[in-house]
């Protein structure tokens, strides 16, 4: 996949949730686009891969979907966060921060203070 970073499947779900939290209801294309932009084009994702992840989140009840109409009058399926989804974003974000903080200590042992 070129020299761009392959997306780690596990993180995709959190990215989607975070995107929806930031942007409000959005269709699949918009979400994929946004994720790519947010990463500063450092992530290369096949847009198609967001759909299975969306389906999973929907089945788990973190997001809900309904058909709507886009700015330029195109029919599209819009996804939005549910309440459970909002909680999940917090929880996962916190976990992720913890994990990355831990990883950071391993990667930069010199900065260890305690």
């Amino acid at each position: 996949m070129g020299d761009k970073t392959d997306i780690w499947q596990g993180t995709l779900a959190l990215m989607i949730l975070k995107t929806l939290e930031a942007m409000g209801p959005l269709h699949g294309y918009g979400i994929a686009r946004r994720i790519e932009q947010t990463s500063g084009d450092r992530l290369a994702i096949n847009y198609g891969t967001v759909y299975p992840a969306l389906l999973k989140l929907e089945q788990e009840g973190y997001i809900a979907s309904e058909w709507g109409v886009s700015d330029n009058n195109r029919k599209a399926k819009y996804y939005r966060l549910t309440r459970a989804g909002r909680n999940q974003v917090k929880k996962e974000a916190q976990q992720w921060e913890e994990t990355s903080a831990i990883m950071a200590r391993f990667l930069n042992p010199g900065e260890q203070t305690s």
Binding site: Q9, G10, T11, L12, A13, L14, H27, G28, Y29, G30, R33, N46, Y47, G48, T49, Y51, P52, A53, L55, K56, Q59, E60, G61, S70, N72, R74, K75, A76, K77, K91, E92, Q95, W96
Partner: protein, 900 residues
Amino acid sequence: MGGDERDHGAVLEPRGADVMRRLRAFFVRLWVWRGRAARERELAAEFESHLQLHIEDNLRAGMSAEEARRNAMVKFGGMESAKESMRDRWSLVWLETAWQDVRYAARGLRRSPAFAVTAIISLALGLGASLAIFTVADSLLLRPLPYRSAAQLVVIWEASRTQGSGPNVVSPGNYFDWKAQSGVFAAMAGWRERRSVLIDGERSEEFGKDYVTADFFPLLGVQPVRGRLFTAKEDLEANSSETLLLISYRLWQSRFGGAEEVIGRKVRIDGAPHTIIGVMPRDFYFRARDVDLWEPLGLDPAYDYRKKEGRWMYCLARMKPGVTYAAAQARMTALAARLETAYPAFNKNWTANVEPLRDSMLGQAKPALLVLVGAVVMLLAVACANVANLLLARCSARRREMAVRASLGAGRARVVRQLLTESVLLALAGGVAGVALARWAVKVLVAMAPADLAKSAEVHFDLRILLFAIGISIATGVLFGLAPALVSSRADLMGALREDSRSVTGGSRLRALLVAGEVAVSVVLLAGALLLFRSLLDLEGVNPGLDPTNVLTFRVSLPGARYDKVFERAQFLRRATEQMERLPGVISATTDSSLPFTEPFAGTWVNFEGRPAPKPGEENLALIRSVLPGYFRTLRIPIKQGREFVASDDSEQTPHRFVVNEAFVRQYMPREQPLGKRIRVLMERENPFGEIVGVVGDVRDWSIDREPMATVYYVYSHLSYTSATFMVRTERNPLSQADAARHIVRGIDPMQPIADVRTLDDVLDENSSGQRFSAVLLGGFSISALLLAAVGIYGVLAYSVAQRTREIGVRVALGAEPGRIVSLIVGTGAKLVMGGAAVGIGGALALTGLLKSLLYGIGPRDPWTFTLAPLILLSVALAAAYIPARRAARLDPMDALRAE
């Protein structure tokens, strides 16, 4: 849950709430699974709108229409793979792929019907036989007895050390001492069995009845469903007041219509008035299912039974919690030894034995049943080996197909699962056929079963058995499908794709081993079956000592209350036999105190005039029968010396006269002239000396497989039982005289029923039914195993011929004679068979010892059997090997060389 393997984001799932989430997702998926077409449409629409949005953006960014579309498509990635992974999430993937596998497997099986049918028949045989035997064994050995903590229940027997006649009934005197002194039993109760005539209004019928002590039902932990039990006090007074009676649920329903007023109802039993005080539960039975009446035994602890009576009752006990059989037995041995010292005149050389209640109910049936369970497991193993073998062969044949599937991206797990689906499908089909077979087989089994086994059994085919069947089918499928599946999925891809049919897979060695194993087990089964059949033949060839053909037998139990005088009873029997003899088609008629070959009957001590009384423990034991004049003529028992009883002997006024059998003479008066000698038989309170007037041939009336025992015959008037078995010799078809006989008995006494109408031939047949049962079953098992092994041998060789087609072609082209080719192939098979047979003979030698108690006339290592069994197997095996061998020999070398 195959689908969950593909979960996204599983790494970040928090531990706790997980389960609920997953469950929810599962149900959502289950729900969504329905509208498949709608879902596909929606998915297509969503993707299409995605592309449109992207294309519009691209156009806005200045791409050409074509470029915009291409870019959107590329950016999206594999449309199909995205759809596929969404479908995975929607559907219960495993369910769908499983269904796919099942359909695929079914199609594959339809394409090779010979394979499918052989495998299904193998399994149906194995499973059907196992289920049938398991059903019978389950109801006899496993299903709990309907008593509280039944494992703690034992029967206690007395046993004579010198006379070695096995379990003996018990003296009430000893029973009371055991009860007071044993210390290892929480309770002890007594009973005795007999048959009685119940008269209720106009109807009369014979039933089984047990006399029991008051603590009998409390010991078993059984309460009546209506009314009450009798108390210890009522038990003690049983002989002096009107008798209390408990009846079975069945009798309550059939006789009294289940009416509540049955409690307190007066009926007559054997002529004496009884009051019904209780109804026992529906599923209650004790030892025999045909007992419908229970009344107090009326033992009196103050009575000196050891002085005045012999041994006549049965003893039941409940071990204290934590007491083992061994401990109970040790305690009883010690206690019996003490009683032997304390009462030498009565107890010299007598000890006591403890037997689990269930064993005592099964008798001879237990070893037979265990042997059959073992045999059926072997048969099942052979069937499974056969199926595994077939599957292996099939897998080798399908290596290319598997390789293609693998190269198209099917994972190994997927291939294994596909193969397993096939074997499980086969096993289930075999299981269904097996259940059908078993249902039918159980009926046959029960019909064929020896009386021992049938009387306490209530064999049914229930849900548990069905579940067992399904379980065992699936287990068989997985277990025996797994090895072939693993072997063939490992097959190296390139070799298989190159269609290199000569490369040998790991399967063939495994298959050879399986076949050798089948052969070995078949030899064991065959040896067992041959042993049983031989002893059955011997047994049926034994001369019983009388002529059983065309003899009608039935029992008449005269109520003691109405036929209280000996001459009344004698007169009844005489009148009945005389009238029967006048019937056209009847040759002669007589009675006996018990039916030969079946019932336990009396045995006692005999003293000889002019000899000192024997020391305690060295008495002369003889079996006792009491018969009407004409008995020996009717049964065609040969008179060896002297004469048989005549009418003038049969009177209370004439002095005692006895007829003895040759065994008696051999055993007790070998160097004497028996006629005219006087003996005394310690049977009753008064036992005068009587003259021996005749010596008759021996009858194996104890049991056909036992040596005849010393027997003394009384004439009826000198020893009169209330129950008599009639024997009517007819010219032909004895059962056709049954109605006439019943009519005659009713004519003499309208209230007198007759019971147990049978022919003497049937009685004798039943005597060897235990052996026949085991022999026929084991024979069936061994033939099945043999056929399965033959199929296995055939399969292995046919496969090897197919594999070696080219090699054989070369040999033929180089001038090998067809005979040489045949012996080459047969030789391959012979190696398998010889190896298997050698192991089998070893196994059989080790195992047939278990059959010992079922054999008659031959040892468990009968050389004849051990020669014949491998010979039979060898000839079947060679026949199975010959078919593929001949095919190989007929190969046209040109065709063979061109093959593949």
